[in-house]
């Protein structure tokens, strides 16, 4: 198996609560790999560990065989791992275009001096800017965000914002993308479009997708493999049809429903 991302016994606790306890899994290159589990299971915490926002108390993280456990978030991004956030983290006073341009940050070089002093069209800063804007335009077309292109993100509806965040992550041209509940707050139609987009991201752009989702239909339809968590513990891992029937998974979800009821 050609694994692109691998965790080994990931463990992290917050004030006595074990958010993750010895969680290991491996993601195959080119897969759509989903992580499911009730609220508070530790799904977002896994993403935060991968992207360097949290550092695990113990355990290791590997990206293409390289240890990335203790890298800072910007270094993880540099390796080629991009992400979205469960509670949208956009640059709300920037336009959609500029949000996506920030996704190009690592592909660009213009510094203070070159940025502040370029005046004419053929200058290096201008050329770089134009080249990357073209790239961003491709992402805008891919996600059909044309209408939002020049709008401030703060004025966009929730579902569109989710897409802008996805676009920003795609603009980075990552090898792996982490999507934390991308369909939350979307209506049925938007969810359907999103599902196709996620498949296109993998099929057309060749990006490996790690997905945290609550919509079981969506998950079962598009995932190649699924990891199920509960209270920070790995309770099952396997193909969608295996997970669907797994007694531990059923128990975890039934338990949650009882709590809700």
């Amino acid at each position: 198996m050609d694994s692109i991302l691998k965790t080994e016994n990931l463990t992290i606790s917050f004030g006595g609560i074990k958010a993750l306890n010895n969680v290991s899994f491996e993601v195959e290159k080119g897969a759509i790999y989903s992580i499911i589990g009730p609220n508070g299971a530790g799904k977002t915490t896994i993403f935060n560990c991968i992207s360097g926002i949290y550092q695990p108390n113990s355990g290791k993280l590997f990206f293409k065989g390289e240890d990335i456990t203790y890298l800072k978030p910007y270094q993880v991004a540099k390796k080629g791992i991009a992400r979205t956030f469960q509670n949208i983290e956009l640059f709300s006073h920037m336009s959609t275009m500029d949000n996506l341009m920030l996704g190009r940050h690592l592909h660009m070089k213009t510094g203070v001096w070159r940025g502040a002093t370029f005046l004419y069209k053929g200058s290096k800063a201008a050329n770089e800017e134009i080249l990357n804007r073209e790239k961003v335009e491709e992402v805008i077309d891919f996600l059909e965000l044309q209408a939002a292109r020049n709008q401030f993100v703060i004025n966009l509806p929730y579902g569109t914002r989710k897409l802008v965040e996805l676009g920003r992550a795609l603009a980075l041209e990552p090898e792996v993308i982490l999507l934390d509940e991308p369909s939350a707050g979307m209506n049925m139609e938007e969810k359907g479009d999103l599902m196709f987009s996620i498949q296109d991201i993998r099929d057309d752009l060749g990006i490996t997708v790690l997905l945290v989702e609550h919509d079981m239909n969506l998950i079962m339809d598009i995932s190649d493999r699924i990891l199920a968590l509960n209270f920070g513990e790995r309770i099952a891992e396997g193909l969608p049809e295996e997970i669907q029937k797994h007694p531990e998974v059923l128990k975890a979800y039934l338990g949650e429903e009882e709590k809700v009821a």
Partner: protein
């Protein structure tokens, strides 16, 4: 997409011919401003006041890059201003540097300290950062005050500068200051629109997302401090020469806070707002010193202050009015003068074309 977009359009300085024409007209206006002022004395302006406004505008732009765009705070910019002023004067007096070399060096010395101050900023937020920068400003002026090298408590005399053999007067400084200010304004506008500026704004809006998209927070936060300090340092260098004399006592906390007020009143995250804020606050500060001369309101305030305040009351009244104006602007237009501009832009945009 069948229409080929012109991507340069987005980052162009002059997005339309209208803006280009206005900009050229404005530059012509600036070139003739000294003549206008000496001939008509509008609003009682002098070239000295305009010079002071322009210098403050450079500071406000620099501070806005830090506060308005990057979302950090500084209550110590008088310290950078002092560093620029003392560096420029010392370079020229002690080592006879020409002004055009001394000024950038003043900027760089100031920005080096900005980098150093930026380091604690990585760990501090909000009120904590405010206090740290406040401490920095106070420390700088105290150090300058107690070192013989900087002229100690007495301060330093700025040397007389000569332009083609004739001593420079306010009007000569006007052109030097204005050219530098115009260049630095264009620089700031460009910077904000390109990669570094976007990183600054991204840090302000969501530092966690900025970092996850590859922005090195350590580097860009300290860079914002350094750039901001550079602007302030250059302005400080110019300030020394229009004042003719610099004294560490004059770079006090109130000065830092006034700089901050210019930025807030003008509009956080707006270059043009910074200029407007600097102009308004500087103008008010000077004009309110002669508050008793304002028709109708002036004499009434004099009577009021004589009745209810100490003998030196009228200067207090000036401060109170200054404070009230700040409160009113922030209260009714949280985006500052810039916000007012945005709302009326539709009208101005097309006029008179």
């Amino acid at each position: 997409m069948d229409i080929k977009r012109n991507y340069y359009e987005d980052i162009e300085l002059f997005k339309s011919n209208t803006i280009l024409v206005w900009s050229i007209l404005f530059l012509i206006f600036l070139a003739f401003l000294p003549w206008l002022i000496t001939t008509y004395r509008p609003l009682g302006l002098s070239i000295y006041i305009v010079n002071l406004i322009t210098i403050h505008a450079i500071v406000a732009i620099g501070l806005n890059i830090l506060v308005g765009y990057t979302g950090q705070i500084s209550m110590g910019h008088a310290g950078f201003f002092a560093l620029g002023a003392f560096t420029a004067v010392i370079l020229i007096v002690r080592w006879s540097f020409p002004l055009w070399i001394a000024l950038p060096i003043a900027g760089f010395v100031s920005s080096a300290f900005g980098f150093i101050l930026g380091l604690p900023a990585l760990r501090l937020k909000g009120p904590y950062l405010a206090i740290a920068t406040l401490g920095f400003g106070m420390t700088i002026t105290t150090i300058i005050k107690h070192m013989e090298f900087f002229g100690g408590r007495m301060g330093l005399q700025a040397p007389k500068l000569y332009l083609f053999g004739t001593p420079m007067k306010d009007i000569h400084y006007y052109y030097v200051i204005m050219i530098i200010a115009v260049l630095m304004t264009i620089g700031a506008v460009k910077l904000i629109k390109t990669r570094v500026g976007r990183a600054f704004i991204a840090i302000r809006d969501s530092d966690i997302a900025a970092e996850a998209m590859g922005v090195n927070l350590t580097y860009y936060k300290t860079l914002a401090f350094a750039v901001s300090a550079f602007y302030t340092g250059v302005a400080g260098g110019l300030y020394a020469f229009i004042l003719g004399f610099i004294n560490p006592e004059s770079f006090h906390l109130i000065m830092s806070i006034t700089f901050l007020a210019m930025v807030v009143v003008g509009g956080l995250g707006s270059i043009m707002g910074s200029i407007a804020g600097a102009a308004l606050m500087t103008f008010l500060d000077i004009k309110l010193q002669a508050i008793q001369d304002i028709p109708a309101i002036g004499p009434a305030l004099v009577i009021f202050s004589e009745k209810y305040m100490s003998i030196a009351g009228i200067s207090n009244v000036a401060v109170i009015v200054y404070g009230l104006i700040m409160i009113l602007i922030v209260l009714f237009e949280p985006l500052g003068i810039f916000g007012f501009w945005i709302r009326n832009k539709r009208y101005w945009k097309t006029w008179p074309f």
